[in-house]
């Protein structure tokens, strides 16, 4: 019996339709792969609307758990991605979460976080819809990449590698306040870049 060429474990990890099919068949590793694929955008979307990181992550977990429970009913759309579906679940969860406050207040303010979150949402200029969050994320990524090396490195180390300004300042023998100013300016540049990208302009 001729042996089939052996498949590298990672090669079809990026093949979302394949992973979806496997996950629907009960392959939990495939489901975890899907979680990896989409966790960032779901978490970022929820974080945009909910102040506490812990709450955002709790909600994000719930999104995937609901997705898991509903896998049977899920049909992969033409685009071949489950992201829109996941974002739909995330948005519904956010709405549920926001309905909390009235009863919470009656119970004596048990969960201040939820109350604050809700007020935050009410005050936000425009609740962003999931697709827009995704576009902003992509724009942000490409704008960060296009920053000059020193700035891109600072953004990367502080936001992505989670290094404190204090430790970064110590390394560069600078004042923390100086780094803070730099970051403020970098963020200004990023915002301009992002808005331009969203309008369809060149980055």
């Amino acid at each position: 019996m001729s042996a089939r060429p052996s498949r590298q474990p990672g090669s079809d990890a990026r093949d979302e339709p394949l992973q979806v099919e496997r996950a629907k068949a009960g392959d939990r590793e495939a489901f975890s792969q899907l979680v990896r694929m989409h966790q960032a955008v779901v978490r970022v979307y929820l974080s945009a609307h909910v102040r506490a990181a812990e709450t955002a992550d709790d909600l994000a977990q719930e999104v995937f758990l609901r997705a898991f429970k509903r896998l049977d009913a899920f049909q992969l759309p033409e685009t071949g991605s489950m992201r829109p579906w996941l974002m739909g679940i995330a948005r519904n969860l956010l709405l549920e979460h926001m309905r909390a406050p009235a009863r919470l207040e009656a119970r004596g303010g048990a969960d201040l976080e939820a109350v604050i979150d809700n007020r935050q949402l009410e005050q936000a200029p425009a609740a962003r819809d999931p697709a827009e969050i995704e576009r902003r994320m992509e724009a942000l990524q490409s704008c960060v990449d296009k920053l000059p090396p020193a700035s891109s490195s600072l953004v990367s180390q502080h936001y992505f590698e989670r290094r404190t300004l204090a430790s970064l300042a110590a390394e560069e023998h600078k004042q923390e306040s100086a780094l803070r100013m730099r970051l403020l300016r970098i963020r200004e540049a990023l915002r301009v870049c992002i808005e331009r990208a969203l309008e369809g302009g060149a980055v």
Partner: protein, 722 residues
């Protein structure tokens, strides 16, 4: 876009990258808990109707992930076994179904496994084809090593083999630390009990030899088709039909034609003890579950045999003694065999007194036919001798029973079991039965209806006008037969007695579950702690709350994984508080709750909650951080009494979110010890039938109310423990 929004986005993006692994892990834990929650109904089923609930069902029927055995003792058994295969890392097997893990690699269908590689089946059942065309299938959570052609080491779990006919002098062996199973062209499986203390060999076709390590082949125990053997206690039993079905499904999974062959000798007694505590309990629990499964089918002798073997291996073991007392209890009286009868005839056999004290006469009042017998245990009855003997008749002859009775109406019960090797399946034996001139059974196929070695009873009503109740058995296919006949008088105003409903069902045994009824790693997966105690994956909670995890060291404990995962009440008022509900028999319990504050940045006052046990406040305003600080274990205990069959724990938030890392439920009442030995017999008491009926009613209610909800159903009442 404001600067604040951008900062939040950058922050979220950074966090999602930095903590991707943990996040995915937490979702996996949640998914795991969700999957185990789907088995909640069957878990409740098993717990509600026993004095001391069982926590897991039959290992081979549940697809529950087996914890990989901690003990990977590979004892090298020196045998006169030629390997006959070349050394070197040459591939020795090919994956033909499922996937296997080999260290960090995943082996898919078509890929080859190298010799001596340790292969695990974490994702589900997986099968390998060996170079000699033999097949091996691993049940989920099993671990094997294919050492050479014809030699496989089973380290944990269960493997089924379909072995091609070996050349003369060659054998196929599955080695475990506790026994070797040698085959010469058969289909069989070997399963290690939890912790690997006992190997169980089950043979579907052919014969295997089970040899203790270090012994010569001649000292092995033969296990034939349809039989199973628990190596550590040296006991054999005939597999129940469920066991056989499961084994056949493994054979079919291999999709290979089975080649048969056979023979050999008798068995040495097992050696007692020398097994560590955790492994011992795993073995005792697994074998008692088997005994219970057999007893439930009326296979009392086989159940007794296993119990005896265990009692010999572990003398003075209180759990074994308790089960022995239970086995001594007579089975519940069936309403249909308590009535007095005009005739009770043991067709083909001698006088017999059944466990209810009914006397069955030796075969009489017949014309024609021959008697036959087969002395194997019969499923679905405790009146085995009735079914082990039969009267049958050759072609060209007729078999008739003429029973003198006063004229009147009668109930006739005909007892059957298919005990002959030549007619074990459907469409091998069919016959007609005529009672008082009326054909009451046409083309009746016993094996087609209930399978072989299983009791069944057919009941009809008839009227006699000539002083003789006549029953005739006529050929259709093969020879007609009958195992026993009962005739009961029908009084004019009384309704006929209920028709018998085989198979006889025996209530389950009160199996041991070590000291705790429940150990649950709330918010996390199944975990075996350093003392060998098994903590279940999160379960028994209502649909409020999320698992959370922080994989850091926890001070004050060596059970870190318990505390690293927790269930947090997700405070959505529409959902109500977080509640855990454990089905337990009424009694007194100790509840031990484990907590840890996983967020070092939380201060006193961030997470404060009340804990209620059985609707009574057990802990008011519990603030884990205030008590012990962050990342440190805290355990709190409270005693409670349960009278409604469900132990409820609820968590009422005051500030932040209630959270719980692990829960233990320990019974405080101790069962009464029974006398030593496992012999069945003696007078009975209580009413297990009532308990069973109630349990079934509760189970039915639970199933109706929808198995997805994790809340258990109504209360389960059980007569007081003996």
């Amino acid at each position: 876009m404001t600067d604040e929004e951008l900062q939040r986005m950058l922050d979220a993006l950074g966090r999602s990258r930095a903590t991707e692994r943990q996040f995915v892990q937490r979702v996996e834990d949640l998914v795991m808990a969700e999957v185990t929650a789907e088995r909640f109904v069957s878990a409740v089923q098993k717990k509600i109707d026993a004095a001391a609930p069982r926590r897991r069902g039959r290992a081979w029927l549940l697809a529950a992930p087996l914890a990989l055995a901690a003990a990977a003792l590979i004892v090298v058994a020196m045998h006169a076994l030629r390997s006959g295969a070349p050394e070197g890392p040459a591939p020795v097997a090919t994956v033909v179904a499922g996937t296997l893990q080999e260290s960090a690699r995943r082996l898919e269908v078509g890929q080859e496994a190298p010799r001596d590689a340790v292969l695990t089946s974490e994702d589900g059942r997986a099968c390998l084809r060996l170079r000699d065309a033999s097949h091996l299938c691993l049940e989920q959570g099993s671990r094997v090593r294919v050492a050479a052609e014809g030699r496989v080491q089973l380290e944990a779990g269960k493997v089924a083999a379909v072995v091609t006919h070996q050349k003369p002098g060659q054998t196929f062996t599955i080695q475990t630390a506790v026994a070797e199973v040698v085959a010469i062209g058969t289909a069989f499986s070997v399963e290690l009990t939890e912790e690997g203390a006992s190997a169980i060999a089950r043979v579907v076709q052919g014969t295997v030899l089970v040899v203790p390590p270090g012994r010569a082949r001649g000292q092995g125990t033969e296990v034939r088709a349809h039989q199973a053997l628990a190596a550590s206690i040296g006991r054999r039993w005939r597999m129940s039909s469920e066991e056989e079905r499961e084994e056949w499904s493994l054979v079919r999974a291999q999709a290979v034609p089975v080649v048969t062959a056979l023979q050999t000798a008798e068995a040495p007694p097992p050696e007692p003890g020398g097994v560590d505590g955790g492994a011992q309990e795993g073995e005792v629990a697994a074998l008692l579950r088997l005994a219970d499964a057999l007893r439930a089918r009326g296979r009392l002798r086989d159940a007794q045999g296993i119990c005896d073997g265990l009692a010999q291996r572990y003398p003075d073991h209180p759990e074994i003694e308790r089960i022995a007392a239970e086995l001594r209890r007579p089975p519940p009286a069936q309403p249909w065999n308590a009535t007095p009868a005009v005739y009770r005839i043991n067709a083909g056999g001698g006088r017999y007194v059944d466990p209810r004290g009914n006397v069955w006469s030796a075969d009489a009042h017949y014309t024609g036919g021959h008697s036959g017998e087969f002395l194997e245990e019969i499923d679905g009855t405790d009146m085995d001798p009735l079914y082990q003997s039969e009267r049958f008749v050759f072609p060209g002859e007729t078999l008739t029973y003429n029973l003198p009775v006063p004229d009147g109406a009668y109930v006739v019960r005909l007892h059957f079991a298919e005990i002959w090797a030549g007619t074990v399946k459907r469409n091998m034996r069919q016959f007609d039965v005529v009672v008082e001139g009326v054909k009451v059974l046409a083309g009746y196929d016993i094996a087609g209806e209930v399978g072989s070695m299983t009791a069944t009873v057919k009941q009809v009503v008839t009227t006699v006008r000539d002083g003789s109740l006549d029953i005739q058995f006529r050929h259709v296919l093969e020879n007609p037969k009958v195992s026993a006949i009962e005739v009961l008088a029908l009084t004019p105003d009384a309704p006929p007695p209920p028709a018998p409903a085989p198979p006889t069902v025996f209530p389950p045994l009160p199996l041991p579950s070590t000291d705790a009824l429940y150990r649950v790693n709330t918010g996390g997966r199944e975990y075996v702690d350093p003392q060998g105690r098994r903590w279940e994956a999160d379960n028994y909670f209502n649909d409020t709350g999320l698992g959370a995890a922080q994989y850091v060291d926890i001070a004050g404990t060596d059970l870190d994984p318990l505390y690293q995962t927790e269930r947090r009440a997700y405070v959505l008022p529409s959902r109500g508080p977080l509640v855990y509900s454990f089905p337990v028999p009424p009694g007194r319990y100790l509840v031990r709750l484990h907590f840890a504050e996983l967020n070092p940045a939380a201060g006193a006052g961030s997470n404060v909650f009340d804990v209620l046990v059985e609707k009574t406040e057990a802990f008011r305003r519990l603030d884990v951080f205030a008590e012990v600080g962050a990342l440190r274990a805290l355990a709190k205990e409270v005693e409670t009494t349960v009278s409604d069959g469900v132990l409820d724990l609820s968590f009422r938030p005051i500030a932040g979110r209630p959270r719980i890392s692990a829960i233990e439920v320990l019974p405080l009442a101790v069962g009464a010890p029974g006398a030593a030995g496992c012999a069945v017999g003696g007078a009975g008491s209580a009413s297990p039938a009532l308990a069973l009926a109630l349990a079934l009613a509760v189970i039915a209610a639970l199933v109706r109310s929808g198995s997805r909800r994790r809340r258990p159903g109504g209360p389960a009442e059980r007569p007081a423990s003996r």
